[in-house]
């Protein structure tokens, strides 16, 4: 490969820079961008699984696991630190991902998707029904944690969590990029195109998918812990199937061909929600629905596929 920076990497760098700088001018953007980055991390996990041709309709279970890890710590241990929450959220989710993964990696396509959905609905029910521990549908408040022992005022904290999210997003983005280019990542993609051949090369496709699934769960947990800190609450809704649908939606919106699709999709999704909700109250879902229809019809490879499409059209014109 040449040392030249690919256009999509350049756009990713610009995006991360904008997320760092723009909220300094408009303070309401701090939380907006933090949410975009945190959700982008979760969607990276969806994009990983899409490389293997698998769609999880239950990924919100890992998002909820990360969020509730932070919430339970606050409720039962008290205090807490952003770094601790993120690390614990990621690890708990990865372990949960290993357990669920042992079952789901035996299945493919619709069965994989539905089994994930089933597991996520079990978790959702537990969070909803075990009122004594989880406060049921009200959820658990997540008090503002410290960062490496430092406490912050709410005004400063929104920037602190923004930059922590940004750092986590950049690391996750870089890590996923490296993973997708690595032998394991290529084997994950090989599951989509020819699982039989992979087995005949001496590699267990299930094992490859399980590793991908755990990484995907880990990312979901980190994103969940971040969103719980940003919104200062964890509710069962974090693990509801509509949440899983939202992550898949964002992945399709952004495009799964590149890790940056996760952030492009999350930015589009959260911006539409942020502004449409302000101006159109209850009909913002309608706007998103129309956006998705347009994407599927005119840009099936998502937002990051647009450039390629446009580039080809231009080439053809010359």
């Amino acid at each position: 490969m040449s040392g030249r920076i690919k256009p999509v990497t350049a756009v990713a760098i610009i995006f991360f820079l904008v997320s760092a700088v723009a909220p300094l001018f408009v303070s309401s953007w701090a939380t907006l961008f933090a949410l975009i980055l945190a959700k982008g991390i979760v969607v990276l996990g969806i994009i990983l699984l899409l490389q293997a041709g698998q769609v999880s309709f239950g990924h919100a279970m890992f998002f909820a696991t990360g969020a509730y890890t932070a919430a339970f710590w606050g409720k039962y241990v008290g205090g807490g630190d952003i770094v601790l929450f993120i690390a614990l959220g990621g690890i708990t989710s990865a372990v949960f991902g290993l357990i669920v993964g042992l079952f789901v990696v035996r299945y493919r396509e619709i069965f994989f998707g539905m089994l994930n959905l089933a597991f996520s609905m079990v978790l959702w029910s537990l969070l909803e029904k075990m009122f004594h521990y989880t406060n049921g549908a009200d959820g658990i408040r997540v008090p503002r944690p410290a960062l490496l022992g430092l406490s912050f005022t709410p005004e400063t904290f929104q920037y602190v969590i923004l930059y922590v999210s940004l750092l986590a997003a950049v690391v996750a983005f870089y890590g996923v990029q490296r993973y997708l280019e690595s032998p394991l990542g290529h084997m994950l993609r090989a599951i989509k195109s020819n699982e039989t051949r992979l087995e005949y090369l001496g590699t267990s496709a299930r094992r490859v998918l399980l590793i991908g699934y755990m990484i995907s769960a880990f990312l979901g947990g980190i994103g969940g812990a971040l969103v719980a800190i940003i919104q200062q609450i964890a509710t069962p809704e974090f693990g509801f199937w509509t949440k899983s649908g939202e992550f898949v939606f964002i992945a399709i919106l952004g495009g799964s061909a590149h890790a940056f699709g996760a952030f492009a999709g999350a930015a589009m999704f959260e911006c539409v929600r942020f502004y449409a909700a302000a101006h159109l109250a209850d009909t913002w879902q309608l706007i998103l629905g129309v956006v998705l229809i347009v994407i599927i019809l005119y840009a099936p490879n998502g937002l990051i596929g647009l450039r390629q499409r446009y580039g080809q059209a231009k080439q053809g014109g010359h």
Binding site: P183, G185, H186, R189, A190, S193, N194, L198, L201, I211
Partner: protein
Amino acid sequence: MASVLLSAKGIKIRFGGVVAADGIDLDVLEGENLAIIGPNGAGKTTFLNISTGYLRPQAGSISFLGQEITAQLPRTITKLGIARAFQIPQLFLDQTVMENMLIAAASRLGSPSGFTALSALPELPEMERLLDLVGVKSYASRKARELPEGQRKLVDIALALALKPRLLLMDEPTSGVASAEKLEIMDILTSALAKEKVTSVFVEHDMDMVERYAHRVAVWNVGKIQKVGTPAEVLADPKVREQVIGI
């Protein structure tokens, strides 16, 4: 005398009313190219499927280098040194030819990395050499999907060679290839096998190919081995000529 690499004893399998293997006994000797011929439905591919663990025989056993491999998983058998090339090439179509090869190399090495790039594997020059050996090096950076059928077949075989097998099982290596190219491909292939010191078993329909490239021939008929011998012996047998070759 050459040592026995693969040994099948009393292999039996039936699918409903169809008997695909009815007491198959066969030894594959180290260093030979053994051709399997026989009419359609005689159980030739079934034998390859059993030898590679894709199917479990209902009776009989199969051993490789003295080790029992009956009903092991394909990936376990692959690790022991039996590679397979398919009648319909089985490639990772969305990846480049070189990426296909490197995935095979990473598989052989085991415990693949999740962080260092696939293209940074030290096996790259070796994979280039193998692609060159089967004559498809110029396609290395093309997506497997873009290759014509004949070339895909060669990449499929190169993938198997990338595993550094002791034994290569090939299901009709020249089917789907234009007859003008068949000889060329088989020439490339047999010289590559000799160079890599790989023993091979190949299912073949074309008697010219068998005559030219096989050291020994096993004739399959309705799940049984009808005759084993040198190509000259087998092709001279009137029963084989009548029932298998059709002349």
